[in-house]
Amino acid sequence: MVAVTDAIEAVYVLTAAFFILGLHRMSHPTTARSGIVWAGCAMFAAVAITFLTPELFANGATNIALMGLGIAIGGGFGYLAAVRVAMTDMPQMVAIYNGMGGGAAAGIAAVALLAGTSATEGSLAVTGGLIGAVSFTGSLIAFLKLQGWMRQKPVVYPGQQPTNLLVLALALVFGSLLLLRPAGLPFPGGAYLPAFFLFALGFGLLMTLPIGGADMPVVISMFNALTGLAVGLDGFALSNYAMVVGGVIVGAAGTLLTLVMARAMNRSVSNVLFGAFGATEEAAGTIQGSMKAVDADDAAVLLAYANKVIIAPGYGMAVAQAQHKVKELMDQLEAKGVQVKFAIHPVAGRMPGHMNVLLAEAGVPYDHLNDREEINPEFASADVVLVIGANDVVNPAARRQGSPLFGMPILEVDAAKNVLVLKRGQGRGFAGVENDLFYKENARMVYGDAQETVGRIVQALKKL
């Protein structure tokens, strides 16, 4: 028996090592794909070896059958959904799988608390359960917003923050009662656990409601970090070091990414979480000039006779699924000898790196993709900048004191000789701020669905 337990622990140690190696390989474009395979093999080994835990057999076949069935159902669902989903829907898939991890962590904590634990294990399980439950319902709301089953605008109501705080406080109170089990209270001891999870789940839901669509890159990374943390805490409670290492690494990585994303918007994480950004609209009327519209043919002429074109995509490109047409446009322009580059703002889209994924899907070589710091000095030498469905990340209002966007590092597209803005209509960006760019002398608007408009520009280019 000792030999089996040793073998299991040895596999867990190797699993942790391969997780680290896998993530390390994922941080370089050339080795990234092998990285996930390494981590995948480690995960498979860890799950398989867990079935050999000697004590399991003492509990009878029911549990083992349920374990197999659970893996088949969850694994089957996860696999099918992930294989079928379109690339444009990736942000919500990442959100939902992350939420499921959080839910699983909350479930583990609940089972540990039901079974009875020592005081230390209990407090670890309560903390892990709280964080896992918050990540579960929070990710679910993020999923609903990204999937379009819920408005992406922040949901706000009077007394929102005090309410949320109260719900969190109640979760903490019931969590403490669960641990301390003081005598002489009016409710039965069995009610603590459901009440604790009810308020924890409720808090995750309520705290995510006021966070809007454009802040999702921060929120998704944060819930990723929280799920990791919950898994790590559960690992403590279960004395499972593979879980401790896996969970804590994700917690650290997710925290780092969350901070990178928040910094890209020049906002603090707490401002993203509690600011209900974009709920109010700025009063109009401070901007001089007027919007000038052109059609796709004129846009094509402008592009065809340029030496250098920079394309700045945003969430609108994802919504319209225009990435393949954009690749076609790039090919057409390059065939005419025009230099084409892409300018990627870190928070363009709805998850970190969203635009890179879509353009890679369309086959745009990644050496064409430039991040904000690389590309900003180049806008002045560009003949045409083509803004496709991006708004707040190119809004020069970020330089104007008093604007809600003030201080956000933007793509300085207005420095180019000409700016073409592909946009569905005349509406404002997510932040609810009027975009100064559209009124500039060198800016031209091309209205319509991004995919259709780019398609028409490509057709016009072919005729030139």
Partner: protein
């Protein structure tokens, strides 16, 4: 003898710094696969869910443990497939000859 809890605390501390160091040099283009990949790594929660269900002795424990296994398994397979699909595209677009 150091208690098991403190051993775990040291492991967690080292893991946190490892995670930070490994991730801190990631280029922007890999942010999505990295997030999705770390999403897959916390799928190791499935191991904990299996242990919780395996050791369950009452039906409430079994039911919650079963739900945790289902959620954890979906996290693992979904996270893996999504990451693999994203990285496959980067592979493809990276190997294309340079345009121009």
């Amino acid at each position: 003898m150091i208690s098991e809890l403190w051993t775990a605390a040291f492991i967690a501390m080292l893991a946190a710094f490892t995670g930070y160091e490994v991730i801190s040099r990631v280029p922007v283009i890999l942010h999505t696969p990295l997030m999705s990949g770390s999403n897959f790594v916390h799928g190791v929660v499935l191991v904990g869910a299996l242990v919780a269900l395996g050791f369950a002795t009452t039906w409430p424990e079994r039911i919650i443990g079963f739900v945790a296994v289902v959620l954890g398994a979906a996290n693992v397979t979904g996270g893996y497939v999504v990451t693999e699909r994203i990285l496959e595209m980067f592979d493809r677009s990276g190997r294309k000859p340079k345009g121009g």
